[in-house]
């Protein structure tokens, strides 16, 4: 009796082409996307952009910069990119570098202070010598830690003579003559090193706030210039990322009412009244938009109440981004519904498209950790623009006026998708 059951199920599956396609296409598609993101070739691994400000301009500091430039995983920028290739913009200063990190142009900036070259390396973690400042955007939890480590490595590999010279100085300082006093000092120094070693093993590095790094031969003071006052830094990112993905699902589901009405004959009856197709679709778009916006409000209020998201100080930006995102998502749902002939088709197509958009657009995995090509591909999705906008509002504390690129794109997407949906919906008007 099992065989007839299998046979019936197989025939049913074969007839349901949408389900059949989903069964095979969806896993392959997602495997491919994540393979590109995580398991691609070496040259697809994203490079970290680091802004370097060399205030010292010494031989030593320049060698350090050159050493950093030789690192394959870093892109070193000493001056802002110019739109005109013939015009070179002035070099970054500490202030402009900090502004650039705040604006999201780079996740990390290094400031090499004046006097750095005179005493670049210390095995003692001297507090009074010039310290490199590492300015970070703590939304990118990987970049600053990687740069911090590479900085120490570059110091070792690109300045061996400086190391030797410094070592000699230490030898003179600590072991010259081996007098009683020298022996004492050496013991003290060793004891300090041991204590430091123990302390580091116990606490690790400080991820945010002002904190001099004592773990390396180069003294680095790390400071988070974005998100330093956030209680829960990644909450706003995930509220937007997850929110947009579910908004897309909700909108496509709500738009499916159009297919239900077409199937039951209600759509024809409505269109035989004073309601035109444009009015009907516009009504459904407004409903979808309001529904999506309500979902966002609930999500962000929940994030505020439970995860301490700073919602109340960002309401204008939230409203602007929320409305634009909701409109784009609502129109997207209308388009999917107008393309599909049945609810089953809509379910299959929306699952496929939304999951792809969400994975490429950064709802499942932050885009800044993806290869550059994938980051660019993400710009074709509603998710990416929405997440970027919400990040500007909640993470970077940028004013509403700075949201114009995201607002323009999302509104444009909304208008264009609605226009296409209206055109396709012509098939329901009359035969």
């Amino acid at each position: 009796m099992i065989l007839p059951i299998i046979r019936t199920a197989l025939v049913s599956l074969r007839r349901d082409r949408a389900a059949l396609a989903l069964s095979f296409i969806l896993p392959i598609t997602f495997f491919s996307i994540f393979a590109v993101i995580f398991g691609g070739r070496r040259d697809t691994i994203p490079k970290i952009t680091v802004i370097v400000v060399d205030e010292d301009k010494s031989h030593t500091s320049q060698r350090l910069v050159k050493g950093l430039e030789r690192e394959g995983s870093l892109v070193i920028r000493t001056r802002p990119a110019s739109k005109n290739k013939n015009v070179q913009l002035p070099e970054f200063t500490a202030a402009t570098a900090e502004a650039a990190v705040k604006a999201g142009d780079a996740p990390v900036a290094l400031i090499l202070p004046r006097g750095f070259g005179e005493n670049p390396i210390s095995f003692r973690g001297d507090q009074d010598r010039p310290t490199i400042q590492l300015l970070s955007d703590s939304s990118d939890i990987v970049a600053w830690q990687m740069v911090s480590g590479l900085l120490q490595k570059v110091a070792m590999t690109s300045m061996p003579d400086v190391m030797a010279e410094q070592g000699s100085k230490y030898a003179d300082q600590f072991v010259g003559g081996l007098t009683t006093e020298q022996r004492k000092r050496m013991d003290v120094g060793l004891e300090q090193l041991r204590r430091r070693e123990n302390a580091e093993t116990g606490t690790g590095e400080n991820a945010g706030g002002d904190a001099p790094s004592t773990g390396g031969i180069i003294a680095v003071k790390t400071r988070a210039v974005v998100g330093e006052n956030k209680d829960n830094p990644m909450v706003s990112f995930y509220a937007a990322a997850i929110g947009v993905m579910f908004l897309l699902f909700t909108a496509s589901g709500a738009s499916g009412s159009l297919l239900d009405e077409a199937e039951s004959g209600t759509l024809e009856r409505v269109l035989s009244s004073r309601v035109t197709m444009t009015t009907l679709l516009a009504g459904k778009l407004v409903f979808n938009t309001l529904l999506a916006f309500s979902q966002l409000v609930v999500m962000f209020v929940w994030a505020w109440a439970v995860f301490k998201l700073d919602f109340l100080d960002h309401i204008p930006g939230f409203v602007v981004m929320g409305v634009c995102t909701s409109l784009a998502v609502g129109a997207f749902g209308m388009l999917l519904a107008s393309i599909c002939r049945t609810r089953a088709q809509l379910g299959a197509l929306s699952t496929l498209v939304i999951l792809i958009m969400s994975s490429v657009g950064g709802s499942m995995f932050p885009r800044f950790l993806m290869p550059e090509a994938m980051q660019k591909a993400g710009l074709l999705t509603i998710n990416a623009w929405a997440i970027d906008g919400f990040t500007k509002v909640f993470w970077r504390d940028e004013p509403v006026s700075h949201l114009w690129p995201q607002v323009s794109v999302l509104l444009g997407i909304g208008v264009v998708l609605f226009a296409i949906a209206r055109r396709i919906a012509h098939r329901w008007e009359s035969v």
């Binding site: 039951s264 004959g265 209600t266 024809e268 009856r269 035989s272 009244s273 004073r274 035969v431």
Partner: protein, 316 residues
């Protein structure tokens, strides 16, 4: 949206159709139909499934764009704003919102027709009363019985009190008791002077409700008139003799064919000028070795007319 306007002009007929043609690929669903509906008249479109009745109705509503011909509702082209306001449509499907209550459904369709405020409230109350659904006003539509849903479907089509109502087989799938209630609703509407086009493939419905009947087959109107006119045109003063025999179907069939009659569901049908012809018919049957079970004489009806005109039964 403003309040609904009435018919564009009382001087126009509720409905005028001229040489209407609609094709779907190779199939001609409506084939050169010309038809007029008079004020306050109930016209039946009688024909088997697939005859083109629903396509004709949908052409009047404006949901189907004809390949040729013209449809005017109170003088306005089909699908114009004036035509939409003047006509009400009760589709064959249960075109309702299942998760809305009866009242909410009526309110929604009322608003779609431009009703608001007191006008809407009064229209909803009237419709609930008309459809005998007052005590079910707050019931979800999906929880209603089939007959109740049918009545609500009708009420939603006339919420804006149109002067012309198109009803596309409103009794499909309804039990006899609910069907009677639906007939009463239509009769009430008709008595108030509403012009109605009523499509059905049930002869008895057309006979009971319609002032005139158009018999539709293969996209054409093959006969049009009152019940009496149709029967007289087809049969004049002739009557029908129905006889059943206990003999084998093959023998009966051969004899019926020889006598110029028809065998329908094991019953032999003959048309006779005078009742006295029955005796000679039965004598002939006896001579042919057939054993008569019963015999009856009846006046031809619309079904007889349809059979006479098309050679097929109405429910084929």
């Amino acid at each position: 949206m403003s309040a609904p306007t009435g018919p564009t002009s009382p001087s126009f007929l509720p409905l005028q159709i001229e040489a209407l043609v609609k094709r779907f690929g190779q199939v001609t669903a409506v084939n050169d139909i010309t038809l007029e509906l008079r004020g306050g008249e109930c016209l039946g479109l009688l024909g088997p499934n697939g005859a083109g009745k629903s396509t004709l109705i949908r052409s009047i509503v404006g949901r189907v764009v004809p390949d040729a011909g013209r449809v005017a509702v109170f003088g306005s082209p089909a699908n114009s704003v004036a035509a939409r306001a003047a006509l009400g449509w009760v589709p064959q499907e249960l075109a309702l919102y299942p998760r809305l209550t009866c009242k909410e459904n009526l309110e929604s369709f009322g608003r779609y027709h431009g009703l608001a405020g007191t006008g809407l409230r009064e229209a909803v109350a009237w419709c609930l009363d008309w459809a005998s659904l007052k005590d079910r006003a707050t019931e979800l539509t999906k929880n209603l019985s089939g007959g109740m849903r049918r009545r609500l479907n009708m009420a939603a089509g006339i919420i804006h009190r149109p002067k012309l109502v198109l009803m596309d087989e409103p009794t499909v799938g309804v039990d006899p008791q609910s069907r009677n209630r639906i007939f009463e609703m239509i009769e009430k509407l008709h008595a108030e002077g509403t012009a109605i086009i009523y499509t059905t493939h049930y002869m008895e419905e057309a006979e009971r409700l319609c002032d005139r009947v158009a018999i539709v087959d293969h996209g054409r109107i093959i006969a049009l008139g009152t019940n009496q006119e149709l029967v007289e045109n087809a049969f004049a003063s002739r009557s029908q003799v129905l006889a059943r025999f206990s003999s084998s179907v093959g023998v009966v069939s051969a004899w019926v064919e020889h006598r110029g009659g028809r065998l329908v569901d094991s019953t032999a049908e003959f048309t006779v000028e005078r009742p006295t012809e029955i005796a000679s018919l039965l004598d002939d049957a006896t001579r042919a070795g057939l054993e008569v079970v019963d015999v009856s004489l009846r006046r031809p009806n619309l079904e007889s007319v349809f059979l006479h005109l098309t050679g097929r039964e109405l429910r084929d």
